[in-house]
Symmetry: C2
Subunit: 527 residues, 2 copies
């Protein structure tokens, strides 16, 4: 297997040439019924990726296919599935796909089959959640648990939180709602204090999530929570479960009611489908619901194995993203779900993408000479339309758009106003935006003119179910993975967070040895 | 008064030359105690703007001062304060500053003093809120109101929502909490259904907010809410107040318990300090609290009148932003409040900035030839540190950072772990990040090296009080205004939202006449 820097590939040079002849405004004139029908890739759980409103042509697709083949993207994905050490910096395997099913060889370490280990943990926390729901497991004063509070930050917060909000409406409608879930992440004491002031401690089960068991914010919040439990006359060890690795100080620890395990091969931002997401989601909506989410993710992972880029949604999405970033010079991507349930999904994708591919060295640790991961941001539509869409339509920079929409709402409650339901209005807005961005509008008054030629893609499905959510999550994980392979990055480490951690320790010491650091600490009242 | 395109100014050419000699890495070596102390501009309510970690030098500041003088930024601000028609496209005055106090001439229209009108409305809704709190005004079945639900979108949602969350912790600690507030914005029926499923209708007062009284999403949600009230056996007209303009169909309407007014001179994204924010915040925390917020904003507005850029925080912030955007080529700005209470503040600033200055034509409607508003995004620290900071530290694009921090937490509840409180840890992290971005770190392993030279600024204060929040809000409003003047834009219209609205209407009709629009509508299940 070759691991080439992107600018050393033949496809890179070919794409540079293609970019020179590129005419963005053609998008508006080519967008018609046939193109929209022809540019749709079904990938999993009834979801399709539609790329009719991307700047694509037969010849561009040919070159992108060449790039996929030349950089051996599918082969690299298979290596990863087979348990190769693809996180080169930290010398770790990358096994989040194995959490939702097996697509490669058995991955065995020290005699343990890791696929079986992940499956066993899923079954354990699924059963644990069942025992909480049935009232077999209760709080230290005998109360039934009604609320779960996850304590974690970064990947232990953003993914699980996004998934939780994404399924609340579905679960309430389908009668799957078991517990309410809340989240404490920030070391800002106002975060924990606000959550703790809103709950009944005797009915609350806390989920302490830290792979290493050493995360500063999470350990501080654990003590905050324990103090509250003790003050409420409760026994903390009956109100806290841990999600961690077996080598962490939190593992096999009598301070916790139970513990569920991941390992070093599950990166934080890829841990939504592990116990990190699974415990809280199983408590909230049942293990069966979380199992359905895993199925949807597994189906998307399978789709990502298809070598023909037109049939592989994640791969095609990745390739368009690289074309836009490296050759058209677009520096950001907006994620715009037309689904209120996906309110925190853009924040999760922001971590997933920017932490994975916001890098300047290749997987061997050598500096590279091309741009990598873009800025990712977004809010649900139609809210965003009344906010930053002005810049998207008429600003001086072009920002590719990633739309998501569903035919049906989650809750099915609706109202008819002026001949249409709110769900219909929502989707009419979404259809209108895609066309508006692509085609624009001429006007003799330049202030009312829209240049068009602004590319977007659309992921659409019937309804945001657990399966669809799993597929959506895995789609983006795989997109980011393929982009990392194209750019020859290690998408699975995060050395960029280390310097801040080290300087924080210094700032907390009496004399940091850095005058600037001490002065900022003084400004902020801590010295 | 001259209104010159930015690239026609002498300062523009001078800054182009300065940029050619620019060395970003100098930032790390110049950042010391003296610089940090010397680069602090107090502006309002105890807040300071610190710009020590910006790429600035005495000569750059001189050129930026020349730019401020040449583009007559203070004079243009004064014109606006005096009620000139600064929203040239829509031919409207721009009067949000007048909501919080008078700094210019009396603005009189058709015999009415508009400053007095805004003041009267503030007094009216403040008194109304008092009557709700005292129980004088109750629901249609005699229940005391415990919950307020704002129905609005865009500026009627993002600003008020951000301000509400920003003050909850303060209010609960200071015993100022009166009502709980919730928000319905999206036309996605799941948004309204979720909120309505969580409230007791008999105890809920709805605030219907639409300046024009014709906003599609808001009117659909109004009917959704009315249906719920009727189904609950309640009289809708006793449970809804309107915030609108006097010429809208919602005004002077017996369907509502009361109505509070703004006018066309208060732009949506600038309406946080009008009745749009004031009614819900007064209901939640009392009119006195909202009055304190207005005072803080007024103080920041006054600071923005100072011609010397080193003493005018909003102006200096604006100038640095233009320097970074137009001459250093940085395409995005991250807003990073180290305060969980500011969780939705970045989303508000995203609208404020991107909708105001995401434009490609000047205030006369002519195309311009330079870049304007950047992408704005952000999440609270320390959460963001565990997410997208990887890209900020080691990505291939440099993104300027706007930090915000406070010495004290809002709630004062805290826990000591390993010798420091959580609030101290929070601020140690903030100090560490500023230094890490500025100075970087050499390392023989490029994957562990940080180039540094990544600029940031810091707004800091004692505690996030209503006054401080008002000052923070006005700071950014004024920053955006000054940048609009520099770029010669009209920052107060939003023609970029119109095409989507028109196409949505078409998509809702039986035959839109646009085959692509119809096909997307079919994909999304609405045709």
């Amino acid at each position: 297997m070759k691991f080439l820097d992107f600018n050393k590939t033949a496809s890179y040079k070919k794409l540079l040439k293609t970019a020179k002849k590129f005419k963005p405004l053609e998008l508006g004139s080519v967008l018609d019924t046939a193109r929209i029908r022809g540019c749709s890739t079904p990938f999993a759980a009834g979801l399709c990726y539609n790329w009719a409103a991307k700047h694509s042509s037969t010849s561009l697709l040919t070159t992108l296919q060449e790039l996929a083949d030349e950089q051996e993207l599918i082969e690299k994905y298979k290596l990863l599935l087979d348990g190769e050490v693809m996180n080169t910096g930290e010398k770790r395997r990358v096994l989040h796909h194995l959490l939702r099913g097996q697509l490669g060889k058995n991955v065995v370490e020290k005699g343990n089959d890791l696929g079986a280990f992940y499956k066993k943990e899923f079954e354990r926390y699924s059963a644990f959640a069942g025992a909480v729901h049935s009232g077999k497991i209760r709080g230290s004063t005998g109360e039934t648990f009604t609320t779960a509070v996850q304590i974690g930050i970064g990947g232990s917060d953003l993914g699980p939180r996004a998934l939780y909000h994404a399924l609340e409406g579905w679960a309430e409608t389908e009668n799957k709602r078991k517990l309410k879930a809340l989240f404490i992440s920030n070391v800002d004491p106002d975060d924990g204090a606000a959550v703790l002031s809103s709950i009944k401690p005797a009915e609350t089960l806390f989920i302490l999530v830290s792979k290493s068991g050493t995360t500063q914010e999470t350990l501080a919040n654990e003590l905050f929570v324990k103090a509250k439990l003790i003050k409420s006359g409760l026994e903390p060890s009956k109100h806290i479960v841990a999600v961690t690795s077996e080598t962490s100080p939190l593992a096999h620890n009598k301070d916790y009611l139970d513990s569920f395990y991941i390992d070093d091969y599950i990166g934080g931002r890829y841990s939504g489908t592990s116990a990190v997401g699974g415990v809280v989601l199983s408590l909230a909506f049942g293990g069966e619901t979380f199992g359905a989410l895993l199925e949807g993710a597994h189906e998307a992972d399978k789709n990502a194995l298809i070598p023909n880029i037109s049939n592989n949604a994640a791969l095609l999405d990745a390739l368009f993203g690289v074309w836009e970033r490296n050759f058209l010079g677009y520096g950001a991507t907006a994620v715009l779900p037309y689904s209120q349930a996906l309110i925190r999904f853009p924040a999760h994708l922001q971590q997933l993408d920017m932490e994975s591919n916001g890098k300047s060295v290749n997987r061997f640790g050598k500096a590279i000479k091309y741009v990598t991961g873009p800025v990712i941001f977004g809010e649900p539509g139609t809210n965003g339309q009344h906010s930053f869409y002005q810049l998207l339509h008429q600003g001086t920079s072009i920002i590719p758009l990633q739309f998501v929409g569903f035919k049906e709402s989650q809750r099915g409650e609706d109202v008819e106003v002026e001949g249409s339901s709110s769900q219909t209005k929502l989707n009419a807005n979404l259809a209108a935006q895609i066309v508006a961005f692509a085609k624009g509008k001429a006007d003799s008054n330049p202030n009312k003119a829209f240049s068009g030629g602004r590319p977007s893609s659309l992921i659409y499905g019937q309804r945001l179910t657990p399966q669809a959510l799993g597929a959506l999550l895995a789609h983006f994980e795989n997109k980011v993975m393929f982009q990392g392979f194209i750019w020859n990055l290690n998408s699975f480490d995060q050395e960029g967070v280390q310097l801040g951690k080290a300087l924080t320790k210094k700032a907390l010491s009496a004399d940091s040895g850095d005058a600037a650091l001490d002065e900022y600490a003084r400004l902020l009242g801590i010295k």
